[in-house]
């Protein structure tokens, strides 16, 4: 038995036997031979045609982003300049494989040097195109096929390699490269398949057909486990399965403490798909709709936004809190000129940008939200607020939008206005917002980052922030004392240790990832409000 440590990419536990995928040896780009050039050129032509045919089959099975990537790759395979360049190199004595590798490397380098990060990333597609043609030249297949249930072990898996996979046979994924936020992690999480990436030396140490335990929660891979490890893993699998079954009954129950005090269990969403998921998981409302995700390709028009919000609201048929665009230097929006900043988290973002660019950013969004509110229960939440004056200014703009809508004879309704409490400034002065806002929602991720002065994306200091430390809890206590309804929509709301403390301090709504909603309802049901209050008081002062 041997245990390898990697990076957690997708949660879950799998026990199974391995299927190893070894990378094809690289092409020798200096390979020159006395070749029959016309014959080599037609060999390349045939290989390219086969690669196109294979890609067309794959494309018909793909959807979404993967389909877009494959479509661009197909156009690249059929590129006349690629063919001319490769043919010329073959005439000069290179083999077909060396010629195509040389030409594509040249294009990949040109693309990789472009300032636009999206275009630079297309370099990977060009390299993939080269691999596809070379695979055809060598008569090998790039697609991974499974004929039995197995754990895939590979150096890396490209999107195209995972498209054709029979996911009912795929038990887990282990790769030598990759990161927790990479493409493979996203795919594995979407499929709910455990994955551990960044396992150095995996291919050297793991043989075909051996038994592995892949632990996506701990990021470990156990090779040839002994009986004790095997039993422990089986037991954990059984517990996880029973837990999933147990939780199902909580979907249809309201969020409440053991003594029947209502605490709303809401969901955070960023898309229509997540709205459906929220309904499926029994969320009682949406406490945070992150709208900046719909602006990923540029700010949509008022009409386009109205259509999106209306569709989300009609799927939900329950309270919907919409956070206005939380855009800043770290989340650039095409078409919106936001200068790069040394400290985007302390920079021109959220409500600051909205107030400075009302015509472009804030007003079209507010107008579309007020119009959807004519039919649905919708509330507006302002991000990154620090002082009451910002809310006053935002309210003036909202009044202006209302006057315009009235004049135009549009259907609309006034809505409750709230703020995200994510800066220490807003947290310690929330009472000063009395009369200006109808509710407050604590964004714990940013509040903790600003309070502890710790950049949560910086691995060297990340552990120094204490999500449940006294600084966080005392701020939450102070926020709750301001006397308005307080929700929590940050990651802390989904933490089982944090829930009793937050509720004990006075929080009345928890908004979490849709899949966490049933678990939150279960935690709430295990204690009385008085027990949670006692626990919270102790945490505020105790050791």
């Amino acid at each position: 038995m041997k245990v390898l440590q990697g990076i957690r990419a997708a949660p879950g536990l799998a026990i199974g036997s391995t299927h190893i995928i070894r990378p094809a040896p690289a092409v020798d780009i200096t390979e020159q031979r006395m070749v029959d050039a016309p014959g080599e050129i037609s060999r390349l032509e045939r290989a390219t045609e086969q690669a196109i045919a294979r890609l067309d089959t794959l494309r018909s099975a793909a959807s979404g982003d993967t389909a877009g990537i494959l479509e661009a790759q197909r156009e690249m395979l059929d590129d006349p300049e690629l063919k001319q360049g490769a043919d010329a190199l073959i005439e000069a004595g290179f083999t077909a494989g060396a010629a195509i590798a040389r030409v594509t490397t040249d294009y990949a380098e040109q693309l990789a040097s472009l300032p636009d990060p999206y275009l630079a990333a297309r370099a990977e597609d060009v390299r993939e195109v080269s691999r596809r043609i070379v695979a055809e030249l060598r008569g090998i297949s790039l697609e991974v096929r499974l004929d039995r249930a197995a754990i895939l072990v590979a150096q890396d898996l490209a999107p195209a390699e995972t498209v054709g996979l029979d996911t009912t046979l795929l038990q887990a994924i282990v790769t030598e490269t990759g990161s927790a936020t990479g493409h493979l992690a996203i795919v594995a999480q979407g499929l709910a398949i455990p994955a551990v990436v960044g396992v150095t030396g995996a291919l050297d140490q793991i043989d075909e057909g051996v038994t592995l335990i892949v632990d996506g929660d701990r990021g470990t891979v156990t090779i040839d486990p002994d009986a004790a490890s095997h039993n422990e893993a089986q037991m954990r699998q059984a517990i996880a399965m029973r837990d999933r079954e147990d939780l199902k009954v909580y979907r249809d129950r309201p969020g409440m403490t053991a003594d029947g005090v209502r605490i709303e269990a809401f969901a955070n969403i960023g898309s229509l798909a997540e709205a459906h998921k929220a309904v499926e998981m029994g969320a009682e409302g949406v406490g945070l709709f992150r709208t900046e995700l719909i602006a990923a390709n540029g700010l949509p028009s008022e009409e386009a936004q109205r259509a999106i919000y209306e569709e989300v609201a009609s799927v939900l048929q329950r309270p919907l809190v919409v956070r206005t665009f939380d855009i800043g230097g770290d989340k650039p929006v095409p078409g919106l000129d936001i200068p790069a900043e040394a400290n985007p988290f302390l920079g021109w973002r959220g409500i600051r940008l909205a107030l400075d660019r009302p015509e472009e950013v804030f007003l079209p969004q507010v107008r579309s939200l007020l119009r959807v509110a004519a039919t649905y229960d919708l509330r507006i939440m302002l991000p990154m607020v620090t002082v009451p004056q910002e809310v006053e200014e935002a309210r003036l703009l909202i009044e202006r939008a209302i006057k315009d809508l009235e004049r135009e004879g549009q259907r609309f309704r006034r809505v409750p206005i709230g703020i995200m409490v994510e800066t220490p400034a807003a947290a310690v002065t929330l009472d000063q917002f009395e009369g200006l806002i109808d509710f407050a929602s604590i964004g714990t991720n940013d509040l903790i980052q600003y309070t502890y002065a710790v950049d949560r994306t910086n691995a060297r200091v990340r552990e120094r922030a204490k999500p449940l430390g006294k600084a966080t809890l005392r701020l939450v206590a102070q926020i709750c004392r301001a006397g308005m309804p307080v929700a929590v929509c940050g990651q802390l709301a989904g933490d089982e240790y944090a829930v009793p403390l937050l509720v004990g301090l006075g929080v009345c709504e928890l908004s979490v990832a849709p899949a966490r909603v049933p678990a939150i309802k279960r935690i709430l049901s295990t204690r009385t409000l008085a027990e949670m209050q006692a626990q919270a008081q102790q945490a505020l002062v105790g050791p």
């Binding site: 877009g68 990537i69 479509e71 661009a72 156009e75 690249m76 590129d79 006349p80 300049e81 690629l82 294009y107 040109q110 693309l111 472009l114 300032p115 636009d116 999206y118 275009l119 297309r122 597609d125 060009v126 390709n297 540029g298 095409p334 078409g335």
Partner: protein, 90 residues
């Protein structure tokens, strides 16, 4: 006879610039015409029927690009391709 080349300066309309999808649509349309077609940005000129070359222009929304078309169907080609470049292809 000297071959006629027509030329037009166009401002790119696609929000994301000439990214993979807009570039794909543009190149597929260019391939539908007979003559030689080039696309230039600043002092770089590339074959408009090659997606790899078009992507390497790194053209963004609002950039000025120049289309040059030769051949019998040049008029039709330049009208069609110019309007594609001006449109927001997503």
């Amino acid at each position: 006879m000297i071959e006629r080349i027509i030329e037009r300066r166009v401002t790119l309309g696609s929000k994301s610039g000439l990214h993979a999808r807009p570039a794909s649509v543009f190149v597929q349309n260019a391939k539908g015409f007979q003559g030689q077609i080039t696309l230039s940005k600043d002092d770089k000129t590339v074959n408009a029927k090659s997606i790899l070359s078009v992507l390497t222009l790194g053209a963004e929304q609002g950039d000025q690009v120049v289309l040059k078309v030769s051949g019998d169907d040049a008029e039709r080609a330049i009208d069609r391709l110019a309007s594609l470049l001006e449109e927001d292809l997503g």
